[in-house]
């Protein structure tokens, strides 16, 4: 469905990605995990068209996205939930959602999409008329996801949805990700919360300093010795020493 091939991205002197290739199939949850600065957000932002690659190609359902502008990419159904939410703080919850559904393809089914979002996040309906800045962190993340859903994505790319949220809220956000997949959406998930995201992923890539270090099913990456040593740590070992 989404095919990223040999992608390289450079910020003036610094090469953020070198030759990254990933594949996302319809109906999957695919995770990109790795430490801070590994290039995870760069990858998502390049697929979204917010950054331009120096090399490589991005295709979605056979359509070339590499040189398309960001708002056109959204119209093809590739939508991101940006890191740190990036809501429109002085607009109401409902207005935030309406902006999400304002492009041509989404307009026809907007009423239906709004019902779906409110069905998934009843809290947002209660707070419909409140400005986005008055929401709690978890509600803001829900609004960011809802806003992205309004543009009727085929694939949703979520950049660190659990960032800065309390553990119990993180649980519910991961539950939402699974619910979205069950409703037929494809999800590309970027996370630092590695254990949790691998547990719900069909497939995963580990990025290290701008390149794919390891890939495999979520379970196999989770079981890998290198992943354990570098990112997770053995649950029993550390206290013994």
């Amino acid at each position: 469905m989404l095919n990223v091939e040999n992608l390289s991205v450079q910020y003036s002197a610094f090469k953020a990605l070198h030759g990254v290739s990933i594949k996302v199939e319809q109906g999957q949850i695919v995770s990109i995990v790795g430490a801070n600065g590994a290039g995870k957000s760069t990858l998502i932002n390049t697929v979204s068209g917010l950054l331009r690659p120096t090399e490589g190609s991005i295709t979605f359902e056979g359509v070339e996205l590499t040189t398309m502008s960001a708002h056109e990419i959204v119209r093809h159904g590739v939508v991101q939930v940006p890191e740190g939410r990036k809501l429109f703080p002085d607009m109401t919850v409902q207005e935030n959602l309406l902006v999400g559904g304002s492009h041509k393809r989404a307009r026809a089914g907007r009423g239906e999409a709004l019902t779906q979002v409110y069905d998934l996040f009843p809290k947002l309906m209660e707070r419909e008329k409140q400005s986005a800045r008055t929401l709690s962190g978890g509600e803001q993340q829900m609004l960011a996801i809802g806003r992205a859903m309004m543009s009727q994505p085929k694939i949703l790319m979520m950049d660190e949805p659990s960032l800065g949220l309390a553990p119990i809220v993180v649980q519910s956000i991961f539950a939402v990700v699974q619910e979205l997949r069950n409703r037929g959406l494809t999800v590309l998930l970027v996370e630092q919360n590695i254990r949790h995201s691998l547990q719900i992923s069909d497939y995963a890539y580990v990025l290290e300093t701008g390149a794919v270090a390891l890939e495999g099913t979520g379970a196999s990456v989770l079981a890998d010795d290198h992943t354990k040593a570098a990112y997770i740590g053995s649950p029993t070992g550390s206290e013994a020493h």
């Binding site: 502008s69 959204v74 429109f88 902006v99 304002s102 492009h103 543009s151």
Partner: protein, 336 residues
């Protein structure tokens, strides 16, 4: 019916304002006209500056284009300013598109965008000053014909008052309409977080250019009225920095990005400035400019959302509606 209720309030307010000149001396009708001119221009500016958050400091460019186009066509071809106004608006649309494309296409924002707009308006002052057909530095005088509705000329002040009253009403209705339209949401989304707007499928470049064009077109119509009322256009008078600065002054003081802000700003500030000018003008020239500066600094420091913003937050405190004015955790939350 409910859809149209929000438009009813402006219509009623302006309808009532229409009775005022019947009880006022000519001088106060003149002040009323000044208020409405600036309210109209500031409302036009507010679409780009307040809604879309792109602070143009060169709206004199569009005002000048409107003023000069209708005046030139009336003098040389006897064209009625009622049509000349639309010619000016067409030219302003082209200029607005060009300025928008030339700046936004290359990602100019904030102070950089403002600087380019100042430069372009200032360049227009010099171009027109050296353009013989446009009267050069001396400008153009609207030929006085006595009362002639066809040429938008009247001996008394009342007809001018009603023309600008209707124009301002239309501008306020446009702002009100934007508040509930997809295009309006896009403008605000661009202001609040341009990158997020783009990531949500908003064509931010097109949105900003369209906002500039709409704002320029409306401003140009104000230019035509200005020329007809003062029967004179000069390069500095209509293209100059005083025009560009005053336009945004009323919008900022009244409340950026609000429907009523520019009008409220003009209603409060224009009379005060006029009194200062009339009372102190001889001993202390430029007293009203000093006043503008002082009020602007005060507004920035103590009520950054302008008068309308202040009223809104006081009202929400009294009625205990969901309080939007209290700053809760910023939605940008978390590290980046």
């Amino acid at each position: 019916m409910r859809r149209y209720r929000e438009f009813l309030i402006p219509v009623v307010v302006f309808g009532l304002a229409g009775f005022l000149p019947l009880f006022l001396k000519t001088y106060y009708v003149h002040i009323g006209i000044l208020i409405l001119i600036w309210a109209y221009l500031a409302t036009s500016w507010n679409i780009l500056g307040g809604y879309a958050g792109q602070h143009s400091l060169g709206h004199g460019l569009y005002m000048g284009i409107g003023a000069y186009a209708s005046t030139y066509l009336a003098l040389n071809f006897g064209l009625t300013p009622w049509v000349g106004m639309f010619v000016g608006m067409a030219f302003a649309a082209a200029a607005g598109w060009f300025v928008g494309y030339a700046t936004f296409r290359y990602g100019l924002k904030g102070a950089y965008f403002a600087l380019v707009t100042i430069a372009l308006a200032e360049a227009a002052v010099y171009v027109v000053s050296n353009w013989k057909a446009m009267g050069g530095a001396a400008g153009l005088e609207v030929k006085y014909l006595g009362t002639n509705p066809f040429m938008m000329q009247f001996d008394g002040k009342l007809p001018y008052f009603y023309i600008i009253l209707v124009m301002t009403l239309l501008a306020v209705l446009t702002a009100q309409w934007l508040n509930r339209r997809r295009f309006g949401y896009r403008l605000i989304a661009v202001r609040e977080n341009e990158e997020a707007a783009e990531a949500m499928g908003v064509n931010t470049l097109g949105t900003k250019i369209n906002a500039n064009v709409l704002s320029a077109v409306m401003t140009a119509a104000g230019g035509t009225f200005f020329a007809q009322y003062f029967t004179y256009v000069g390069p500095r008078v209509v293209f100059g920095e005083m025009v560009s600065v005053q336009i945004l002054l009323f919008a900022i003081i009244g409340g950026l990005g609000t429907v009523w802000g520019p009008l409220v700003g003009a209603v409060i500030l224009v009379p005060v400035a006029e009194i200062a000018r009339a009372e102190l003008g001889t001993q202390f020239q430029g007293a009203h400019l000093l006043l503008y500066g002082g009020v602007l600094v005060f507004t920035m420091l103590f009520m950054p959302k302008g008068i309308v913003g202040l009223v809104k937050s006081v009202r929400s405190r009294i009625w205990k509606t969901p309080d939007d004015s209290v700053s809760a955790p910023a939605p940008e939350g978390g590290a980046s």
